[in-house]
Symmetry: C2
Subunit: 202 residues, 2 copies
């Protein structure tokens, strides 16, 4: 009788989990339009995702109804992993946004597909829930995803509002999820935007 | 009667929370010794913290007893924020580690001190719990904090094991928290370390 061939690590469950974690490292090389607050370089999506998780922890009390913070954090950690293949699509890029859904779906197939069954569906469904923005957790997480780049822009003289020549209406529309999901933050947001667009250089 | 002077945003509770979040952006400029898996550059502490949160989500099932995953994630998101002032202290740097505790305590005073009361104590205690490594959540989080750089090193031909001329015993000792907190991962860890140190170039 032939000796049983041991299962290679890459085919084992733990091997699949570690392969996914190694693949995830690539998110550190996906660049967003937003600059760091010191203006030294563009932010990458991995560090952005960390900053969102911290933002959720710090602003949780302002959610209009209690949220399951574990779900919010898990959603924020995973919500941009598809950008490893699909890249970051700038919020105001109309052409890019027309193909974003299809590009991200293919990316999700491949990247979550690295995981063993169970985890694969679990992480994918967190990503889908974030994108659908229909649950209290997803609405809160989406508002957090607006607040963090807003702060980076505020700290860098308008940031992408300035460099991409956006209008006050475009920025307000982009920030709109905050109005309902973090209502106590809304006056601060509107004041900052108004001050920025009142300046002659804006 | 003098008109009441409106409270500046920086003195309001929301203002303090946003100031902390802006300060946290600096963690993206704190460099660790670990390289990205493509070898292109050193990893920063913010993206490292994100990767740890993802690792905890993916490996949760291997914790020997159930853990409160919300607490684990909150702990991992916040555990290295003190490095904004204290810098990353390389695990094998004896001199640096002799002063690490004092440097990080002062950093915690200043950085968590930016937050309003309540949140300040809450986030600081998560950091302290991680460092004490005495609860199941902290032990799991500490093991995760060993696994992630281990994978980056494995993927870059030994990484810091190689560049810093570490011995097999040093690396095994550093990885030891995994032995008890993620026992099912331990054989993979030991095999990888043994394979690396068996090579003539190691």
């Amino acid at each position: 009788m032939e000796p049983e061939i041991p299962e290679p690590e890459s085919a084992s469950k733990i091997g699949q989990q570690l392969a996914f974690l190694v693949e995830a490292d690539k998110l550190k090389n996906v660049l967003r339009r937003t600059m760091l607050t010191d203006g030294s370089r563009q932010e990458n999506t991995a560090e952005h995702s960390w900053h969102l998780a911290l933002t959720a922890m710090v602003l949780e009390e302002y959610a209009p109804a209690p949220v399951n913070i574990a779900k919010v954090l898990r959603m924020l950690v995973v919500h941009d992993v598809v950008e490893i293949d699909a890249g970051d699509t700038f919020a105001y890029d109309t052409a890019g946004n027309a193909t974003k859904e299809e590009r991200e779906r293919l990316a999700a197939d491949r990247i979550f597909g690295l995981l063993p069954t169970g985890l694969r569906e679990e992480l994918r469904s967190l990503w889908e829930e974030f994108d659908a923005a229909a649950t209290p957790e997803a609405r809160f997480a989406n508002a957090v995803d607006r607040i963090q780049p807003f702060l980076q822009n505020r700290e860098t003289g308008g940031g992408t509002w300035h460099t991409h020549n956006l209008s006050r209406d475009q920025v307000l529309a982009r920030m709109d999820p905050v109005r309902t999901a973090l209502p106590q933050l809304w006056p601060t947001i509107v004041n900052t935007i108004d001050e920025f667009f009142a300046k002659p250089s804006a």
